[in-house]
Point group: C2
Chain length 114, copies 2
DNA sequence: CGTATCGTCAACCATTTGGTTGAATAACGC
DNA sequence: GCGTTATTCAACCAAATGGTTGACGATACG
């Protein structure tokens, strides 16, 4: 069984990598096949496959195989415990979604198009 | 200059270690000297000192030297960007502070008293 | 002054991480 | 059936991480 602390470990360390954060941002749009996830990155498919395993183990995505294609789906609920943990350190401003979209776009640029 | 993505990298990877999360929880109570931070952990002072450097570089704490004692102070604002990033993936329930205190206590137990 | 305390530094070590390649497995399309 | 596409596996590698120890520089105390 996984302790609470282990869950925070795996979620925070999954989120600590810019490639993995970029993948999560992409999946915010829609579910994607592994190959399509890998496409914008300057990195082997095998490397992306490993990142997806890490995201899956952290519970941040799920993967379902249909035919020869494996679909990746965002599971944002896995962020809840981490989010709650952080919220305990302060009340952060209510989310400005417009600002957030600009933020995501910029981060995506930085990551896949350096 | 530090990009947004670098800031998220350093904050999330700082938070990915249970020892460092426990330190932050301790500092929620009050500012502390390095030696006192190190006290509950079964680990050398030098190791804790390194963790504190990582937390400082991430902006999550500040350190001020008065006399021969270096005081550590929580800087929860550094979590804001990371929190906002995560919030973008879903509206997580409003924080239940009682539950959060139980949560922290349990995590602290697991970490310093295994 | 001498000594004890606070904290960091430097060197070292084992393990983990993030990437690579090439081969292997599995499902499609002709 | 056969080539092609989708994905993972295995072996390997360099660099980063998290820890140790012992020496060291500063500050405080008696």
């Amino acid at each position: 069984m996984e302790s609470m602390s282990d869950a925070l470990d795996s979620v925070f360390s999954a989120l600590a990598d810019p490639t993995r954060r970029a993948i999560l941002s992409m999946l915010l749009e829609d579910d994607m096949a592994v190959t399509d996830v890998a496409d914008p990155f300057d990195m082997s498919l095998a490397a992306i496959s490993k990142h997806l395993v890490i995201l899956t183990k952290a519970g941040l995505i799920s993967q379902e195989k249909r035919g020869r294609v494996k679909w990746c789906k965002l599971q944002p609920d896995a962020m809840r415990s981490a989010s709650v943990w952080m919220q305990g350190f302060g009340q952060f401003e209510p989310v400005n979604l417009d600002a957030f979209e600009r933020f995501l776009k910029e981060e995506l640029q930085e990551t896949v198009d350096p």
